[in-house]
């Protein structure tokens, strides 16, 4: 056993676990429920810096050969998720009380980090479970109506279904290739036997479910709407990133064989169109973002049609841009005791005249999500569709671009509310610490707008 590899290679995970355990101890020792935020932030920052450092130095190692190995790409992915978690945690101030939500957040991130290092389906499975289980509860944390519990239960049942699908697929792949290493998935992609193909498709379906691709999307709108703002931001930015980056690791160096292109491309395509169309008729902001995330899941899964070399770059850049935009948007939302009222799109009416900074950041987030240049969302979208077209699927890429066009309207509608509506008399309260969270996102967004090449060279 190589203890050094275990210590260094899993440093971000260790830090998260240490922070979580420390938080438990603090909670047990203190009489009143302590505030978990400072400790959680310190833990997140330490883990983020560790992951960043390991990614920058190009560390690679095999703490548990065949079960859990690390490489710079895995660290980069972990750094993305941990970095995004910091502003999300800032948003939680005022929404979630006590140390427990932060504990759940840390455990969930621990699972997310595991999935990015997974070398066997066992690690992948337990990582995904650890990623999801705390989120089921976070959805109903700070709940303000029965809707939250319903959403949590729905999410739990469908999340469990996704896990079962993943395991069934893994089991079939075990039968086809004799191993549970995730390399069996890549082998199964190329094998072409019915058993391997069925296994591959079940695993892909499980990822579609976790990533909320139509028709496996039913949980997302409810969960996004039922949860409080920081949790929705967490689901939109980090859970999605974790699932997609894990999928990149799963696909590995394998290309999608032509026979499987149609089933793998079709559902994301439908997802883009349906997500964008359904978002138009939403009146709740978070529900609209949920449908937007369904559409974005479609774009993200398109990345797998492209050449294997470009996948990590495309997905990583996309989840960075997408995550930053979501957190930026959520940070700009008004806070209010009546959550359902604050969540209505109409509550953004005249935002600019009251809180110009919030309106502008919200506008930037929406335009970037719509994929309009010069914001990073455009570069991300461009990268994905370029890869698809380079792989020779011109028709699919054009269809995808047209489907992405459908989304423009509802993003612009948010701008319409924020800038073009006349303000009503009442003031719109801002979230506590929202300024910090949005600045943490705005600075990277500005850098990515002007220097996207810097990041792309390093992914």
């Amino acid at each position: 056993m190589n203890w050094q590899a275990v210590f260094i290679g899993m440093l971000p995970e260790h830090l998260l676990l240490a922070g979580a355990l420390l938080l438990i101890v603090v909670e047990l020792l203190s009489r009143r429920p302590p505030d978990g935020l400072p400790l959680a932030l310190a833990t997140l920052a330490a883990a983020f810096l560790a992951a960043l450092w390991l990614a920058a130095t190009g560390h690679a190692g095999e703490p548990f050969p065949g079960q859990l190995t690390v490489d710079p790409a895995a660290f980069a992915g972990k750094a993305v998720m941990l970095g995004l978690a910091i502003p999300v945690a800032l948003l939680a101030r005022g929404e979630l009380e006590g140390p427990r939500p932060y504990l759940l957040l840390l455990f969930s991130l621990y699972g997310a980090c595991l999935t990015l290092s997974a070398d066997s389906f066992l690690t992948l499975f337990i990582g995904l479970e650890l990623l999801s289980l705390p989120v089921y509860v976070l959805v109903m944390a700070g709940m303000r109506g029965p809707g939250s519990a319903e959403a949590a239960l729905k999410y739990l049942v469908l999340g469990g279904t996704a896990s079962a699908m993943l395991l069934m697929g893994a089991s079939l792949l075990l039968g086809a290739t004799g191993t549970l290493a995730i390399a069996s998935f890549a082998a199964g992609l190329g094998a072409g036997t019915p058993l391997a193909t069925a296994g591959v498709l079940l695993v892909v379906a499980a990822f579609f479910l976790k990533g909320a691709v139509v028709p496996f999307h039913a949980w997302a709108p409810d969960a996004y709407q039922g949860a409080t703002v920081p949790v929705t931001a967490y689901m939109a930015a980090i859970v999605k990133a974790g699932v997609l980056l894990a999928a990149v690791r799963l696909f590995g160096e394998a290309g999608v064989p032509p026979a499987l292109v149609a089933p793998i491309a079709l559902l994301p395509l439908v997802s883009m169109a349906w997500g964008n169309l359904a978002a138009i008729r939403q009146s709740s902001f978070r529900r609209m973002i949920a449908y937007s995330s369904i559409a974005h899941a479609g774009y993200l899964f398109f990345a797998f049609l492209g050449a294997p070399e470009g996948r990590f770059e495309a997905v990583a850049f996309y989840v960075i841009a997408y995550g930053l935009m979501n957190v930026l948007a959520f940070a700009a939302l008004p806070a209010g005791a009546d959550d359902a009222a604050a969540d209505r799109l109409e509550s953004l009416q005249g935002l600019y005249s009251r809180r110009p900074y919030a309106a502008i950041t919200l506008g930037i987030a929406m335009l970037s999500l719509a994929g309009l240049p010069p914001f990073p969302g455009f570069v991300a979208k461009f990268l994905i569709f370029r890869n698809v077209m380079e792989a020779g699927y011109t028709g699919i890429a054009v269809a995808g671009l047209l489907a992405s066009y459908l989304g423009l309207y509802f993003y612009l509608r948010v701008l319409q509310f924020a800038f073009m509506g006349s303000a009503s008399g009442e003031t719109i309260p801002a979230r506590r610490l929202a300024l910090g969270a949005s600045l943490l996102c705005l600075i990277p967004v500005a850098l990515l707008t002007f220097f996207p090449g810097w990041l792309l060279e390093r992914l």
């Binding site: 509860v137 109506g145 809707g147 519990a149 469990g160 079962a164 893994a170 089991s171 075990l174 004799g178």
Partner: protein
């Protein structure tokens, strides 16, 4: 029909029945049970493949499935209780607040 294939077919049927239950049943608890049935189907297929290949890894995975199933239920039950207390029903079809 070989015994192994029979078992595998049974696992596929159990898995599909579980999925069917998740989709078509309205009672939240029955949905949870259906989810467990899916995992049982998975276990059956894992055990069958594992005993054919002599893979300890698969046996460990079966063990993990047990752990996770227990953990999921431990989380699901408080949620169900909260739901029943607030809504007075576990009927997924009557949750209209979140539709649309």
């Amino acid at each position: 029909m070989a015994e192994q294939q029979f078992l595998l077919a049974a696992s596929a049927v159990l898995f599909s029945l579980g999925l069917l239950g998740v989709i078509i049943r309205r009672n939240a608890l029955v949905m949870l049970m259906s989810m467990e049935l899916m995992l049982n189907g998975v276990n059956l297929s894992l055990v069958t493949f594992a005993s054919a290949a002599g893979s300890t890894e698969a046996a460990v995975l079966v063990f993990l499935v047990f752990v996770v199933a227990a953990a999921e239920i431990a989380i699901a039950i408080p949620i169900v209780l909260a739901l029943a207390r607030r809504r007075g029903t576990l009927d997924a079809g009557s949750w209209t607040e979140l539709k649309g």
